[in-house]
């Protein structure tokens, strides 16, 4: 690969179903190179991975059928930074309140799907993320989940109406909302800082 001379890290975006294109655009604007991942071989050589919004049941089933669940679990457990939004948050969770869908089960959170209600309850709201100081983050919530409970290793980054909606643990970052649908790159940059740190360690 000729990439080694290039400073921009190569980040994969799981593209089985959902809003992968918007994440690729945001990552590229934030200074990374993006690669859509549909098959196992496309996981090779990645410095980070994004699991986008979409339908978590669809994404989970396709991860099982195309033998991606175990390899991704292995890579993230070994320290590959991962950023999950909405369905991606659900996929990373240890447990979902109802249902028995396939999960990566890597983050010590229990998640309620569609927690804010059906589509007519989908909303936009300004969020406080202390990690970014005073400037609020515009949260777009679409049939969004929330974090019902979290283990001691999990750092909650933001809440809405008393429910955690952004968190991190080790090199995993999750949001219940969709930064990729805004022009605000702060969360993607935060994720890329973790990617750079992990690359430097390796």
């Amino acid at each position: 690969m000729t990439r080694s001379a290039n400073k921009s890290p190569l980040v994969g975006v799981l593209a089985l179903q959902g809003a992968s294109r918007e994440h690729c655009r945001a990552l590229e604007k934030a200074g990374a190179a993006a690669r859509e991942v549909r098959r196992r071989r496309e996981l090779e050589g990645l410095a980070g991975l994004v699991i986008p919004g979409g339908e978590s049941t669809t994404i989970g089933k396709l991860m099982v059928s195309y033998h991606l669940l175990e390899p991704v679990r292995g890579l993230v457990a070994a320290g590959l930074p991962v950023f999950g939004t909405c369905a991606g948050l659900v996929m990373l969770a240890r447990e979902v309140v109802e249902g028995d869908q396939p999960l990566l089960g890597l983050m010590d959170i229990r998640v309620r799907r569609n927690a804010f209600g059906r589509q007519v309850k989908s909303f936009e709201a300004e969020l406080e993320l202390p990690v970014f100081g005073k400037e609020p983050f515009h949260g777009i919530f679409i049939r969004a989940p929330w974090i019902e409970s979290a283990g001691p290793e999990v750092e909650i980054l933001a809440g809405h109406e008393g429910h955690p909606v952004a968190a991190r643990q080790d090199s995993m970052l999750v949001t219940a909302f969709h930064p990729e649908l805004t022009q605000d790159l702060r969360l993607h940059r935060l994720f890329l800082e973790t990617v750079s740190a992990a690359t430097a360690r390796a």
Binding site: Q17, F123, E124
Partner: protein, 293 residues
Amino acid sequence: MKIGTMTVKTGLAEMLKGGVIMDVTNAEQAKIAEEAGACAVMALERVPSDIRADGGVARMSDPDKIREIQQTVSIPVMAKARIGHFVEAQILEALEVDYIDESEVLTPADEANHINKWQFKVPFVCGAINLGEALRRISEGAAMIRTKGEAGTGNVVEAVRHMRTISGEIRQLANMDRDELFKAAKELQSPYELVKWVAENGRLPVVNFSAGGLATPADAAMMMQLGAEGVFVGSGIFKSEDPAARGKAIVEATTHFNDPQILARVSAGLKDAMPGLDIKELGEENLIQHRGW
């Protein structure tokens, strides 16, 4: 906090991309669709091929049927309202369906006006056979477009025609001198601002799926290669011999639409597809794609 904004309406369509939305008529079919990997289901009383065969007036589903499906699956549930029937749409919004399809598959209730979709918090998807029709629907508040094809035929030819038509018209606009866009807007019978947006961005301002006549994994993958961002499959799944296997195969073909090796594998051994109809034998007066104005 704001609900029902255009951002959250178009946002759900963005989340459905790369997925398959399947027509279902009861809870059992909805469960099969979810298990097959559908990203949403469309709840309706009869699939389009039965509506075509039965004739008469086709209307919104019984709310009990829609509730039963909502209680069975966790994926988004869509439902159809007749073109122009804003009270059916009010009822579907009260039921909290996730998307309303203002659909030509049902019998139109108004032969001049579509629903004013800006009045609703629930998003709408509408059919289109060309760019002008798509932009008129968007100007009325549609948050998602699907090419119409010819529903209930199991024949993909009209879906291809409509997708190629819209893509071609977008390319023409993108190549035009800016001074020509006013005349283009007049010819497309669409608002100038939307025409200008399409010319500058080279795409529709909302997500565009393919619908109407898709019956095989190859059909779905072809529509994706032609530029669809996802597919609706109506009669094609539950009028086939093995809906669970065919549904799963169409989902996989939609994800891996550019990988002929995978397409060959998922296309094998699916038992019979739904019976297909030749569009020419239907006669122009029996085409439902011309409903909508």
